[in-house]
């Protein structure tokens, strides 16, 4: 594998899980706590995030050199807002007005959340490197956010309604209190702990392998 491809994949993987925006950096928590009670809403918000984050990062990576440094954050947020507005319109008109009605309060928050990757967009020096690293970081961050959102949404939907993607799972036990944001916080806390534990386990295994060699 080429070094550039390996670097691309390692950046993508690092942003996806080992340096997950939600579980490690504790960003983008608000939409997960509020919207993450139904897998359909979770997937809809994930798609909006992926589209907005990746497109705004790529466009900004292309434009960054031509914009004055002090104006860069402003342009970046404006770009994200325009793209998010577009994806909200598409969601409302062509996908589901009901899902839009549930998400519309939290969609504007995603503009702020796109700032997770802002540093990675402006950091690299060459244009080509900037584009590839931006793509890797945006995809990793967006899919990492979506993974956590979808897992939290699915678990909470199963607990609250006994359904998954609105399909009944055939058991009677219900825990409607899982709708409270504090349950979402606790769930995210346990997910973050599980991620740290698995990272620690992997680190220990790799150090053991090095020791054996």
């Amino acid at each position: 594998m080429k070094p550039s491809a390996r670097h691309f994949l390692s950046t993508l993987w690092n942003a996806f899980l080992p340096n997950n925006v939600v579980l490690i950096q504790a960003l983008g928590l608000c939409p997960i706590l509020a919207v993450g009670i139904n897998l359909r809403y979770g997937v809809a918000l994930s798609v909006c995030t992926i589209v907005t984050l990746v497109l705004s990062d790529l466009l900004f990576a292309l434009l960054a050199k031509r914009i004055a440094t002090r104006l860069q954050p402003l342009v970046y947020v404006l770009l994200s807002s325009i793209l998010l507005f577009g994806s909200a319109v598409v969601l409302r008109l062509f996908i589901s007005a009901e899902i839009y009605a549930h998400l519309y309060l939290f969609l504007p928050l995603m503009v702020v959340n796109t700032l997770y990757t802002y540093r990675s967009v402006i950091a690299p020096t060459t244009a080509r490197e900037r584009l590839s690293m931006t793509l890797a970081d945006s995809l990793g961050s967006a899919f990492g956010f979506s993974l956590v959102l979808c897992i939290a949404s699915a678990l909470r939907e199963m607990a609250i309604y006994g359904t998954l993607w609105d399909l009944p799972l055939g058991y009677e036990a219900r825990f409607p209190e899982a709708e409270h944001p504090f349950i979402g916080f606790i769930l995210l806390g346990f997910m973050a702990a599980a991620l740290q534990w698995s990272k620690q386990l992997l680190r220990r295994k790799s150090s053991e392998e090095v020791g054996m060699l």
Binding site: E177, H180, F182, I186, G189, F190, A193
Partner: protein, 328 residues
């Protein structure tokens, strides 16, 4: 040689089990007093909390060490306290869930005994209050002569607690004698006011609890009740009702003085009691629940390290200034 150890930082003669046995001993007369009014049900509720806490601690030990462990009796105290803060009418699964939450979410993930940030019993009660409010704040009429049925309590005549009556702004019919004799609706462990005071003295004598927290807490609560009564009653009645009803006294005796979450420095302890009292009175006035003391305990727990640090620095600064003045 200096030895670094985790909290609770007790004297050499004391161990966490010594403290836990003292607390458990205090819960016995409180539960027995409730059993006198309502039959065996309160005892079973307390036992259900304890059993759930023990099972959860064993499961957590299995996860952490590969074998079920119970390092000390602190989980028994947590379960017992949660059981004692329940209404005698609560279903048995409510204290069980509260205890499981307290041990499995608030205590063990932070490293077990001595490492938890919040008081597990207060957090367990807060969880139950948010999730099952209708099951928690419905009390049986203490004038009933029959024991409460064990399972189906739907036919039991309920009565509004004095705290609920104050919350609605109305007058209350409970006088001094009713309050001191525990003849009013309330949680299992909180109606025996005189027993609670005796428990506080016993814990002070054992040095398991500090009067530096409880006394300022009660004084500030009394001042708050006298200055801002919740109903059109005299200041004396307001003070007696606020101090004796709900979980105010119970949380002061058992939850606030927890050696893990309370500050260690004397000035910090006084401030801790004062802040807890202010928060308790604010929550009583404006809170959603009639008993919001456990929320106040959790809030003040988060100030504890800050209070310890800043009070220590403050007294050190004052001492230094005094020494400088003396030298001059």
């Amino acid at each position: 040689m200096l030895k670094a150890a985790t909290a609770p930082h007790l004297r050499a003669a004391q161990r966490p089990t010594y403290q836990s046995y003292g607390m458990l001993l205090c819960l016995v007369p409180l539960t027995a007093f409730s059993c006198l009014h309502y039959g065996i049900r309160p005892l079973l509720l307390v036992l259900s909390g304890i059993l759930s806490a023990l099972v959860t601690e064993c499961i957590c030990g299995l996860f952490r060490h590969g074998r079920p462990t119970m390092s000390d009796a602190t989980c028994t105290v947590t379960g017992g306290l949660i059981g004692a803060m329940m209404s005698p009418l609560a279903p048995f699964w409510v204290p069980a869930i509260g205890s499981a939450f307290a041990i499995g979410v608030v205590k063990m993930p932070f490293g077990g005994t001595g490492r938890n940030i919040f008081n597990p019993a207060a957090a367990g009660m807060a969880f139950c209050a948010v999730c099952f409010p209708t099951r928690l704040f419905m009390y049986p009429d203490p004038t009933l002569t029959d024991s409460l049925p064990l399972l189906d309590t739907s036919a039991v005549i309920t009565a509004a607690s004095p705290t609920a009556q104050l919350n609605s702004g109305g007058t209350t019919s409970y006088g001094w004698l009713s309050l001191l004799s525990g003849d009013f609706p309330g949680p299992i462990g909180s109606t025996g006011v005189l027993i609670l005071l005796a428990c506080a003295l016993y814990l002070f004598a054992r040095r398991s609890s500090s009067p530096l927290i409880l006394v300022p807490y009660l004084i500030v609560c009394a001042i708050g009740a006298a200055l801002f009564p919740r109903a059109s009653i005299t200041a004396v009645t307001s003070v007696s009702l606020e101090l004796c009803t709900g979980l105010l006294l119970f949380s002061g005796v058992f939850l606030l003085s927890d050696p893990v979450t309370a500050p260690r420095f004397w000035l910090a302890r006084i401030l801790y009691g004062v802040i807890a009292a202010i928060l308790t009175m604010i929550l009583r006035h404006y809170g959603r629940f009639e008993c919001g003391e456990f929320f106040a305990v959790m809030l003040v727990n988060s100030f504890s390290p800050l209070l310890d640090r800043s009070c220590w620095h403050l007294t050190a600064l004052l001492r230094r200034k005094r020494e400088e003045v003396a030298q001059i």
